[in-house]
Symmetry: C2
Subunit: 538 residues, 2 copies
């Protein structure tokens, strides 16, 4: 059985082997800080944690785990900073205990007890937060008797399936693969595939407004949510299953993006659909990124609604083994479970040609072929494999001393050029000034809309040994300020957590922040839920 | 210049002529209450209003109108009950004054002054509310020095147009036709056409989460909103123009459906698009409504996303002059500004055939024809004309003593049969029991989603002369209870206002209502904004 790493991404067995790490070490040789060698991960025997302060009476029947291993696993999310600290056995302020509720009532009992005893409760789904969402706010911890991580993954059932209305009700703690497996039996899919898919939960997707890997159409969990049940410290709320409603404000939208600070999502109805039977994919090369952007814009504004429409800049295309030819690559895809999509696909390719896009490969999978085991080896497939593998590669690079992290945003089309140019320019200046020029900043466009796009930046750079976190923090500070200055959002789908609070405050009005604080005070009067996420609290 | 009616729908000149009214009178002869003859509307000379209590100092520079005519016009929305009262010169509690701000600062000044002097402020866009949204809450009025109607229609400019990102920034008070006219100059459209289009405003659409007449796709204003500016009693908030964001809760969604109780929407960025160049339409007949529903469901779940997919039951089809053959009629339409839609159209018709749908008429308008003045005389066109004209017809029927009103809902596909059967059954019982059987209840499906649909019911019935309002209230009470019992929403796109409060409370959890009250208290501490909309207030 797969064992989850307590310091790095995903499963221990999936981590890169020495041979693979050496490949990257050779490739990135001059990025490796001098004096740095392949860092060995901590062993569980090395974990030395303070005695847990959480000590419920026998009547508290919820499963509690006090082991150092679970406490370490639930201490951090999985950002660069988190993995770096885990790798260095730096587990400051681990949770006093990890709680595994199995029922709504156990969630209620846990919140009741923690309110009474003044324990902070950080909700934990798959633990893949890259914004400090599951970590305790170290500055606030002294306000509490201690903190617990509430791991929701034992609440992982399919509660009900309404095939007629194409909706399914799952408990909040179910992870991506289990959810899809349960749907697959009925030839259905949620079609929500964030990069964290394997290690993120339905409740977590909703709480953080996750974005799937499809570039257009209903790819955000926001658009796939039908109804939900939320337990708050003051009571439970359930929204009605409805395809739409015009009855005042939409309650679902209060919980979408609530990031654990207002309540715990115990179950949700989501909109499902049949698995596709017509699939078409093409990989198109552009001489430069700018030309690709112009083409992407026309496609996004065409109403064709491709399922995939993702643009990689030349370095991204190279790193992800999609192209070695220094070109920007557009991954274009269409799919349907009802009708052929040839016409839409042809029109998509026609638009690409009109922007001098060069068709590198294409595949059209028909009804008969879709269940065959043959997998196309197109760039899109390479990219997808690389996409899922990417966090493991990142961990390996961190082990050889590199700074490896991403940040993402969204901006209207008219604002893109300035935002893009300035982000790249500012980060490159920083790399030149403080990192001896040893670094790359790359960009891909993960989502495209009629009115704008979502650029996703990756940074790989040399760090000063031991100072990688502070160096990354400085890069991130510059990036966040630049995004704000050029009218991007602080995050398109990574959430605010604790790391993006400053950027979030920069983006919102004072009275909206006040409103949100007020809502928190209403639902969570003792402020026990994920304190410090989104809001700066006293 | 068109003159707005002060008691009925729309413009005075558009009201039905005697000849037209007689046509309906003959058609509906036995529905007309005995002793009832064609009621003459009140004249403006008949309006006798109390002296306004609103008396700002000279320094208050915002335009104020104290005329009885404006006070009458702004006294009510345009529901059956409103028109009936207006027709009977029953203008209870008219506003003390009508305020016409021209700038954001004037909105702020008005709110400041009204807070200080304890005047309630009901925001007024086009005045087409059918749920009591613009009327004062008569039970709460004694808590105030008086009330004013804040008419936003002088704030009707196109502030900025970003053609590149396909977004336009309008002031909140602009009405549908003016907004479309300004966009048409650039060959653009918002493509949002609620039935109230002519007499409703952008700010009103947002505040009430209006639904357009397109049956699928981005037809709700929710999906067309990019950003907005809102003035509240405690300050102003502006959301950033973004195509998407994952930064905590979506502020736009707080204002969508806020129904005037939290703030005044002074301007908004909306997503626009080119006008269509490919249009295909078909009218398809089904032997019965149920067969049509099954077909509608398959189309809604096909991913074809027709622009129109509206199903009329046989009586609706007859009344709207679409069909005289006692069949249910599906109005199916596709459009695009980028590509031909023949393939999608063909597939849509193929689905209809598989449900024994009979093609009555079809038209395919190509690029070359689209600007020609020839208008197809298909059922869809008859229906559209009838759709816009419907409220005028309703006013005429009210003048001959009938009860004429609509209510609408949305429900998941699996809940439809029970909901539909019980609504029709309950209303028919009521008509039989209390209205001598003289009445019809009809149904059309206005919007279709993969997971459900939006049924829209119309009632035309005989009333006891003078008791029409109480009789309607009883029908409405029964309808609302039935919708709630069978898991519909109290409103799909008419909003809550004051008339749907009971139903809204039935649909929401106690703690969500508490949250909303809390939000109101935060933004509007003196509770001056549209008191009694959505929330029951002390």
């Amino acid at each position: 059985m797969a064992v989850r790493s307590f310091w790095g991404w995903g499963n221990e067995g999936e981590a890169l082997k020495s041979r693979e790490i050496n490949y990257f070490a050779r490739l990135l040789g001059n990025f490796i800080p001098s004096g740095e060698s392949l860092k060995l991960p901590p062993r569980k025997e090395d974990l030395k944690f303070p005695k847990p302060r959480f000590n419920p009476p026998k009547s508290f029947s919820v499963q509690v785990d006090y082991s150092s291993l679970e406490r370490a696993r639930h201490c951090y999310g999985r950002s660069f900073k988190d993995v770096f600290r885990g790798l260095n056995n730096d587990f400051t302020d681990p949770p006093d205990a990890v709680i595994f509720p199995k029922t709504k009532q156990e969630v209620i009992d846990t919140l009741d007890y923690c309110q009474k005893k003044n324990f902070a409760v950080n909700c934990y789904g798959g633990g893949s937060s890259v914004v400090g969402g599951v970590e305790i706010d170290h500055d606030l911890l002294s306000n509490y008797s201690g903190w617990i991580s509430m791991d929701m993954t034992h609440m992982n059932n399919l509660v009900s399936l309404d095939k007629f209305s194409r909706s399914a009700n799952f408990q909040g703690g179910i992870l991506g693969p289990a959810l899809e497996k349960k749907l697959k039996r009925h030839n259905l899919t949620l079609r929500h595939f964030p990069q964290s898919f394997e290690f993120s939960s339905l409740g977590g997707w909703i709480a953080t407004r996750a974005g799937g890997h499809f570039a257009t159409g209903p790819t955000h969990i926001d658009d796939l949510l039908e109804a939900l049940e939320v337990v708050t410290p003051i009571g439970t709320t359930v929204t009605r299953r409805l395809p739409a409603s015009g009855a005042a404000t939409d309650e679902n939208r209060l919980w979408l993006g609530s990031e654990g600070i207002l309540g715990i999502i115990t179950s949700a109805w989501v909109k499902v659909q049949p698995r596709p039977t017509f699939v078409a994919k093409a990989d198109i090369a552009f001489d430069d990124f700018k030309q690709g952007i112009a083409c992407l814009k026309e496609i996004a504004q065409s109403g064709l609604n491709p399922t995939n429409c993702r643009l990689l800049d030349p370095v991204e295309a190279f790193i992800n083994r999609v192209s070695a030819s220094n070109k920007a690559i557009l991954l274009l895809g269409f799919e349907s479970y009802d009708h052929e999509i040839n016409f839409l696909f042809d029109r998509g390719k026609e638009i690409c040609r009109s922007y001098s896009g060069e068709l590198i490969s294409e595949s059209l999978i028909t009804k008969d072929q879709i269940n065959s085991p043959v997998i196309s080896d197109s760039a899109a497939e390479s990219w997808k494999a690389s996409f899922i593998k990417a966090p493991y590669v990142r961990d390996a690079l961190i082990r050889i001393g590199l700074i490896v992290e991403t940040f993402e945003t969204a901006v209207t089309w008219d604002g893109f050029d300035k935002l893009y140019f300035n982000v790249i320019d500012q980060i490159n200046r920083e790399i030149k000034k403080h990192l001896n020029g040893n670094g790359w900043v790359t960009c891909r466009i993960t989502h495209a809309y009629p009115n704008g796009l979502a650029p996703y930046f990756s940074v790989i750079a040399s760090g000063r040994s031991g100072s990688q976190i502070s160096q990354w923090n400085e890069i991130k500070r510059i990036a966040s300020e630049t995004l704000n200055k050029y009218n991007g959002t602080i995050t398109h789908h990574h959430a605010v957590g604790k790391d993006h609070r400053e950027g979030y405050y920069g983006e919102k009005s004072e009275i909206y922040i006040g409103y949100l604080k007020n809502a928190k005070k209403y639902f969570d009067p003792e402020s026990i839920l994920s304190p410090g996420n989104v809001l700066k609290l006293p």
